[in-house]
């Protein structure tokens, strides 16, 4: 009789305590999960993506990669003796940060989304406008991605990140060229102004 009484008395208090702890654990779990499944992207220089694309410069294109990654503000004029040569190149670097994998086996926090590793990817692109063997203008851009993995979230693969990065670089260079459209309108002419300042990253 006494036991039944005590249980009846303490049950609501115990439920309250359990609910209180559950709330805290849930909050902590959510916090860890949200923090650990983020992709941090950074692109320099900062430019807004163009809404519509117009051709800003014509020249012979010196680029053999995937055409999808090439700035669309340039049109190809294949000729033996071109006035302008437009050279585009990019570089992709990979990085990975992980602790000792064996230790993860004994880490109970993994179940609440504790990070198990981080991937980094850096994509850099450079576009040179060459006239009579002289670089008259350079546009460049770079972007970095940092992706944190956990048991519940792997995020995009390196292939997907690389593609996103190369498209962002393309968009960025297009925007830089658009900002320079007045200058670019003169480069095909004989009396174009020489500009020593490089665009994008110095």
């Amino acid at each position: 009789m006494k036991i039944v009484f005590l249980t009846q008395l303490r049950l609501p208090i115990m439920i309250n305590i359990i609910l209180d702890i559950s709330k805290k654990v849930l909050f902590l779990t959510l916090a860890v999960f949200i923090v650990s499944c983020a992709i941090e992207a950074n692109i320099v220089p900062k430019f807004e993506k163009l809404e519509s694309i117009t051709i800003l410069v014509n020249g012979k294109i010196d680029y053999s990669g995937n055409k999808e990654y090439f700035p669309r503000t340039i049109s190809d004029t294949p000729s033996k003796d071109p006035l302008l040569i437009i050279k585009y190149q990019y570089q992709v670097s990979y990085g990975k940060v992980t602790g000792p994998e064996g230790l993860n086996l004994f880490n109970p926090l993994l179940i609440v989304g504790f990070p198990i590793g981080q991937d980094t990817l850096v994509v850099a692109g450079k576009l040179d406008i060459i006239r009579q063997n002289e670089v008259i203008k350079t546009y460049s851009a770079a972007c970095t991605y940092e992706k944190t993995r956990n048991l519940f979230y792997q995020g995009p693969t390196f292939s997907e990140l690389r593609r996103t990065g190369l498209l962002n670089i393309r968009d960025n260079i297009e925007a830089q060229m658009y900002k320079d459209r007045e200058f670019l309108s003169k480069v095909n002419k004989n009396d174009f102004p020489k500009e020593k300042t490089m665009g994008g990253i110095k």
Binding site: G65, K96, E101, G102, L110, D119
Partner: protein, 148 residues
Amino acid sequence: MNSAIRKIFLVALFILTLSLTGCATLGPVYQKVDKIPENSGLVYIYRPGAFLGGGVSPNLYTDKGKTYLTKIYQGGYFPYFAKPGEVDFSAATESESSVTLDIAPGKIYYVKLTIGIGFFVGRPHLMVVAPEIAEKEIADCKLIPKEN
């Protein structure tokens, strides 16, 4: 007594089975490929020995998962001649990992596979590695024979 011996035997058999799972007869220790075919690049896909994920040997694919290349065993490497242009490699267990390379003719590339922790099974992780690092890591790896 008989029951205890039987239990020990079963546990030993289970451990042996686990340790043998994923093992394969690998070929000779890493040697550089003598000649790269004309108009091709060479990609070494390798997996250094590690404590974790020894029993997991993911399949390696190219061409966006359409073309199967080989199983990548622990401590093994696989040389692959790729045509110039964008070439992707992928491996998957409970999650997928993939990398894409810009292959140039005559050039050599290194892709490393590691196995990380997963819910039910180890997860593959592919990464492009710089030659100066990769050449040290691949030195102890053995050739994964071509499958028929």
